[in-house]
């Protein structure tokens, strides 16, 4: 036992929709699990442990690990729940990685899910913040993001057209993804003409609310090559949940993204991320983040994000396609969202991304975002890690 390298051998997703009244929570979870087991050509009996995550107050179910077992397959198995807000999906992927890498389990099933239709999403997000200091005046997640965009725009002179360009990209990419909730192309003018939610964010700049689930199966290096011909190796993970109070945030730069990316690059020896990374699945809940956060990741210098986006470099066919799946703007079942990024990155590495496939993917990055401007990050590779 002891340290093992880890590969993703299968992924599965539901067809994400704004409202899935045809299934209860366990059934929704089961759809994703069945799909992942099918993709990996395994049965639930092959699974040694399960990691599950969501955000409790969206469905109002306590002890979800225990409640889920009829859908997740956790009866008489080890099942553990991790939850960290918006980062939950990436947090559980990193959890699955460590369970396998520890040598204690050969094959682990990771499940992220949410039925956002079952509650008032903004109300539940607001209760994330400190009940004494932040909650009574906090104005919902969109306002928090608007504050970030304002700070960035004031510093670098970006405009709402720049933000809209990111939304146009992701919504176009989503048309290639049958699992995405919103598959409709929009123009810059459409975005700018959509209702202003919180200056400078328009309705078409932000993610929707979604019911959906995602499952990912990971296996250790001893068994993975026997179980699947196409593997996605996990090279490195980072979870940087820096801030406790929202007023401490360095608005306009995402410190946690900066720290997570540098940690990952160092572990894998990546020097020029824009050249060495083939594709990114970015947990980007609103358009302006698509500009700001690639600067924090060191893809482009500070203040150059918008220019890079306008150049088409992050479109399909560009130097570094971002969100071939359509990303979070097209689909956001919160507890699953980060895991969908992980699954989509894995599909890119495995060459299973169908019409949204980026050619010759060597390294891919998936991220998670949430909490108090927190970041999780995973580096996926086509080759087995040499460390």
């Amino acid at each position: 036992m002891g340290k093992k390298r880890v590969a993703i051998i299968g992924t599965g997703q539901t067809y994400h929709k704004s409202h899935r009244p045809d299934v209860n929570g366990q059934e929704l979870i089961h759809e994703a699990v069945s799909s992942a087991l099918c993709d990996a050509d395994l049965t639930i009996a092959d699974i040694d442990a399960i990691v599950i995550g969501n955000m409790d107050h969206f469905e109002g179910i306590n002890y979800v690990d225990c409640w889920s077992v009829d859908g997740s397959g956790g009866v008489m198995k080890p099942i553990i729940k991790l939850t960290t807000g918006g980062t939950t999906g990436s947090t559980i992927a990193i959890g699955g990685y460590h369970l396998v890498a520890s040598g204690l389990f050969e094959k682990v099933l990771v499940i992220g899910w949410e039925k956002n239709s079952e509650s008032d999403t903004t109300g539940a997000i607001t209760t994330a913040f400190d009940p004494v200091w932040d909650r009574l005046v906090f104005a919902g997640a969109i306002s928090g993001l608007a504050v970030e965009a304002q700070a960035y725009m004031a510093r670098y002179g970006a405009t709402d057209r720049d933000g809209a360009r990111v939304s146009v990209r992701d919504r176009k990419h989503a048309c290639n993804n049958p699992h995405a909730q919103l598959r409709k192309e929009v123009t810059i003018e459409d975005v700018l003409a959509s209702p202003m939610l919180a200056d400078p964010i328009h309705l078409l700049d932000v993610c929707p609310r979604t019911d959906g689930a995602c499952a990912v199966i990971m296996a250790n290096e001893d068994v993975a090559p026997k179980l699947a011909s196409k593997l996605d190796w996990i090279w490195a993970t980072s979870s940087r949940h820096k801030y406790t109070y929202i007023g401490d945030v360095n608005w306009g730069e995402l410190d946690s993204m900066y720290n997570a990316s540098r940690e990952i690059y160092k572990k894998a020896g990546i020097k020029e991320p824009n050249k060495e990374i083939s594709v990114i699945e970015l947990y980007q809940p609103y358009s302006f983040a698509g500009i700001i956060w690639i600067e924090d990741m060191g893809i482009v210098p500070r203040g150059k994000g918008a220019e890079y986006i306008w150049s088409g470099a992050t479109d399909m066919g560009g130097e570094l396609p971002i969100n071939p799946s359509g990303g979070v703007i097209a689909c956001n079942p919160i507890g699953a969202t980060g895991l969908i990024r992980c699954a989509e990155a894995a599909m890119q590495v495995m060459g299973k991304a169908d019409i949204r496939q980026v050619p010759d993917v060597n390294f891919a990055i998936s991220t998670g975002f949430g909490g108090c401007m927190w970041t999780d990050m995973i580096l996926h590779g086509q080759k087995k890690p040499d460390f």
Partner: protein, 381 residues
């Protein structure tokens, strides 16, 4: 298994209502105690796992409240939602994976801030069960009935668990409810939910615990009292109470057997010298002991009467006073681990089990013991 050790522990006193303290205040206290205990500073901590529950804390993303206090600001950090034993399990895998040399694990909750029955009612299925008004106590009362019916264990017998554990707590300065009580006191206490009297139930409590786990290379670097992790496993049973044989803890048996196997234990009755179990209710201590193979099925009550589980007995169980003497949910299982660490180091003071070299700790998630996590710890590598 690959060697890893617990090299530091810290806990707050368990109290009915820490009204002066926030979650972060409790975590700060426990973390600093653990660091001091391990003779480490926060710079020696490679990564952090906090353990909390959004329902108990009344807050979505409850882990956000304790980031700074657990030293997580510029480190890798994650959060387990469940009992502290599960948080510790994830912390252990992060060490065994080779990603980190040390993990700080915290677990906290304050039962005083909410109405417990509403929190545990939310664990029932919203479609089929919840509106019936069940909570943890009613679920466990049904389990107690099933267990007592199957094994013939009586109310008078389970009451002795309360007498023993509250008595043990008199020697533990961290416990909430040290008490000199008799079986009659338990039987005369208010009937909460048949067959459970008030003194069969653990109290509502506030508290926090922190432990530090290190890989084999770092285990001896800071102090000379590592407690080695010999075997650990967890397992969940079915969810709906009607899907389970409530009188048995099949998932606990499975988890325990896996942990024993990892630890190379063939005969737990003879090899395990001390146990800290999740005695949220009196009957559970006996039921868990039997499911863990620490005594024969249905024989727990008889051994209890013969003082087998007393501090001076063959297998002392909950020498700290257990959950009956203080039950901060979430932290509770991590406290069980910390108490075994104290015993194996010989630092348990007036409730020390003499010569203990191998011990077991247990934590529970979900209703009526659906999911269990079992830790076998040893003084020797």
């Amino acid at each position: 298994m690959e060697n890893a050790a617990i090299i530091g522990i810290g806990m707050t006193k368990i109290e009915a209502n820490k009204v002066r303290e926030t979650f972060a205040d409790m975590v700060w206290e426990a973390v600093n105690k653990a660091l001091n205990d391990a003779q480490m500073t926060i710079n020696d901590i490679d990564n952090i796992i906090t353990t909390s529950n959004d329902f108990w804390d009344g807050r979505t993303i409850s882990c956000m409240a304790v980031g700074d206090a657990s030293g997580a600001r510029n480190k890798n950090v994650s959060c387990v939602e469940g009992d502290g034993t599960f948080g510790a399990f994830y912390g252990l895998t992060r060490v065994l994976s080779g990603s980190y040399g040390t993990t700080l694990v915290t677990a906290h909750s304050k039962g005083s801030e909410s109405i417990s029955s509403l929190i545990t009612n939310a664990a029932f299925d919203p479609i089929y069960d919840r509106s019936l008004g069940m909570d943890m106590i009613t679920a466990c009362a049904m389990q107690a009935t099933a267990y007592m019916y199957r094994t013939g264990t009586t109310s008078k017998q389970i009451a002795q668990v309360s007498v023993k554990n509250h008595g043990n707590a008199k020697n533990n300065p961290m416990s909430q409810l040290p008490m000199d009580i008799t079986v009659e006191d338990v039987l005369n206490s208010e009937m909460i939910s048949d067959p459970l009297h008030k003194l069969d139930c653990s109290p509502v409590s506030d508290g926090c615990c922190a432990i530090i786990i290190a890989n084999k290379d770092r285990a001896l670097k800071y102090n000379d009292k590592p407690v080695w992790i010999k075997g650990v496993s967890f397992c969940s049973d079915s969810y709906f109470l009607g899907d389970r044989d409530l009188s048995k803890a099949a998932s606990l048996t499975k988890a325990t057997n896996a942990a024993y196997k990892m630890a190379g234990i063939n005969n737990p009755k003879d090899e395990i010298q001390v146990a800290e179990l999740y005695d949220a209710f009196t009957y559970q201590e006996l039921m868990w002991l039997e499911a863990m193979g620490l005594c024969d099925d249905g024989k727990g009550s008889e051994l209890l009467e013969n003082k087998y589980f007393d501090i001076g007995g063959k297998l002392p169980v909950n020498p700290s006073g257990g959950l009956l003497s203080g039950h901060p949910v979430i932290a509770a299982g991590l406290i069980r681990i910390a108490e075994i660490v104290k015993q194996l180091r010989g630092e348990a003071g007036k409730y020390q089990v003499h010569g203990a070299k191998l011990g077991v700790a247990q934590g529970v998630n979900g209703l009526a013991g659906q999911s269990h996590c079992v830790w076998v710890l040893g003084k020797e590598k």
